[in-house]
């Protein structure tokens, strides 16, 4: 079953000269974590808001859990839950107030709401602070309240628009754990994020959007193959000339005193010897999603070497 089936979706905001989204077609399978990646203004939030029945599409069709977003928004709203981008909890209310009352507004009985509230607060380590008004909580804890409100519900599809923004590494992992638990229960998730490690950690399928268009999509393994080489070697620049590395693959100046070479396993030994011979620090790792993302939408790699495919 498809959680989201979008076909030829476009969005042009009133007064805008350019489309925020143009002819986007996507299929999100139920029970999976589907991630939208893109730069600021790429159109990720626009897509999420249209799927979550907050924004009308200009053209195309979107079915969410089998219902049309334009004609059957009411049916969809019973089945979804969202974390809006840059949302904030109400300052005078505690985390308990938010979640417990929200669950009742969504139709839960008092006892169920109480149990679910306690469960999600414990999972996200908000329980100890459950009686503190949001205005007295850190930015990360405030963000976790919104995540908890969405994840405490029994919606079938979650829309998480940059849910871990502003969270410390430990809190991010708590949210990741909650997201994985949600998926394990059969739920579907449409996630947007700027954090590549988050996308790599959580996603079953990734779509990269740039300037309102889908530029590539696939599993992480499939996306890694977008860059012809599969290994990256970072070498301290320290007097090293780019020309000396170019025979080994594509070279990028990372701007942090390091040169990055995208290459194959076969060249790693030679590069290591080159670095060791000059007493330069170096690291070897597989190509990451971050590399792919910059390769496709950042222009960073393409600016310095062979160019994108």
């Amino acid at each position: 079953m498809l959680a989201i089936d979008a076909a030829g979706v476009s969005k042009v905001y009133k007064g805008a000269h350019q489309a925020a989204l143009s002819e986007v077609s996507l299929k999100v399978e139920a029970g999976r974590i589907f991630t939208l990646l893109g730069r600021n203004g790429a159109g990720k939030t626009t897509f999420v808001r249209m799927c979550a029945t907050q924004l009308m599409p200009t053209a195309g069709s979107i079915n969410v859990l089998g219902y049309d977003v334009v004609r059957q928004a009411k049916q969809i709203r019973d089945l979804i839950s969202i974390v809006p981008q840059e949302g904030r909890p109400l300052r005078a209310l505690t985390s308990w107030d938010h979640i417990y009352n929200w669950l009742q507004i969504r139709g839960e009985g008092k006892q169920t709401a109480r149990d679910k509230t306690e469960e999600i607060l414990r999972k996200l380590e908000l329980y100890e602070a459950r009686n503190r008004p949001a205005m007295n909580l850190s930015g990360g804890m405030k963000q976790k309240i919104l995540v908890a409100m969405a994840m405490a519900t029994d919606a079938q599809l979650l829309f998480l628009d940059e849910p871990t923004i502003g969270l410390d590494p430990v809190s991010r992992r708590q949210v990741w754990s909650a997201i994985n638990d949600w998926k394990a229960k059969g739920g579907s998730i449409l996630l947007t994020t700027h954090y590549m490690d988050e996308a790599e950690m959580l996603s079953d399928y990734i779509v990269i959007i740039d300037k309102g268009k889908v530029i590539t999509q696939g599993t992480i393994q499939e996306l890694r193959r977008v860059i012809p080489q599969n290994i990256r070697v970072d070498i301290a620049r320290d007097g090293l000339d780019i020309d000396a590395l170019e025979p080994y693959g594509s070279v990028v100046d990372t701007g942090a005193g390091m040169l990055r070479v995208f290459t194959f396993e076969s060249a790693v030994r030679e590069l290591s010897e080159l670095a060791l011979g000059r007493n330069l620090a170096f690291t070897v790792s597989p190509v990451t999603l971050d590399d792919v993302f910059v390769y496709l939408v950042g222009g960073g790699i393409g600016d310095n070497q062979n160019g994108r495919d």
């Binding site: 907050q54 924004l55 709203r77 979804i80 909890p89 139709g107 029994d154």
Partner: protein
């Protein structure tokens, strides 16, 4: 799935509880601040007229307070929409726009309750009778309901908090200061009476004057007329809020 065909009334009360009761429990001074403002013009008119127009001032202040609480809903909605983004959470949920509006309107009413009780008591003190209490309550609910719907409609079209505040202040002046709400309609040139009668607040004030037994009611105006205009405005504004307020953005 949870039971989602619950009564919207329960949802509205829960929204009012979250945004009103829980807020006031932690910020009780809000009640005092909200309660004082409706008495400002009452005080000024009382002092300037040496008590002569106090009854008008009581009627006007009650109408002004109700208009203020109704329209303040628009400011709250703008705030929740543009600053907190919490309205996004409600839009993508089983809560309907009218339920959301009702919940926040009840919350506003809660903030104004001390002032409303005080002003309603003054109406009774200035000539209201026990038998007129249902009419007093109906007058209060009609103007509060229509103004809340208008506040919801206006705020839904505002993209910025500042715009909402400005527009709502402007509408407040148009509805409560210019028409004969604080002064007798007979002070106006007769040519302007039709314009005054087009304002729901004129009728609310006249209905309060009727309840207080004042002999300032103009010829040609009747309780039925006032009631009909108020009901028409309520229906009209609720219909406007329901059909033309922006819930899902286009």
């Amino acid at each position: 799935m949870a039971e989602t065909n619950m009564l919207p009334v329960r949802q509205a009360f829960l929204i009012a509880y979250m945004t009103g009761v829980l807020w006031l429990r932690r910020n009780p001074m809000s009640l005092v601040f909200t309660a004082i403002s409706p008495f400002s013009l009452l005080f000024v008119l009382f002092v300037i007229s040496g008590g002569k127009y106090t009854d008008f001032a009581v009627a006007g202040s009650l109408v002004m307070a109700l208009v203020g609480y109704g329209l303040a809903l628009g400011q709250d909605i703008s705030f929740y929409k543009t600053e907190y983004k919490i309205q996004d959470v409600f839009v993508a949920s089983p809560v309907s726009p009218l339920t959301y509006m009702m919940g926040l309107a009840l919350s506003e009413l809660l903030f104004g309750l001390p002032a409303l009780i005080a002003l309603a008591s003054l109406v009774m003190l200035f000539g209201g009778s026990v038998s007129s209490i249902p009419l007093l309550v109906a007058t209060i609910l009609l103007i509060w309901g229509s103004m809340s719907a208008m506040g919801f409609f206006l705020s839904s079209h505002m993209l910025h908090m500042r715009n909402a505040t400005q527009v709502i202040s402007f509408v407040n002046v148009i509805l409560t200061i210019l028409p004969p709400v604080f002064y007798p309609i007979t002070f106006m040139p007769m040519e302007l009476w039709p314009l005054a009668y087009a304002m729901p607040t004129t009728h609310a004030s006249l209905m309060l004057q009727y309840i207080m037994g004042m002999d300032t009611l103009p010829e040609g105006w009747s309780l039925g007329f006032g009631f009909a205009v108020q009901v028409a405005y309520l229906i009209g504004f609720v219909a406007l809020a329901r059909t033309k307020a922006i819930w899902r953005e286009s």
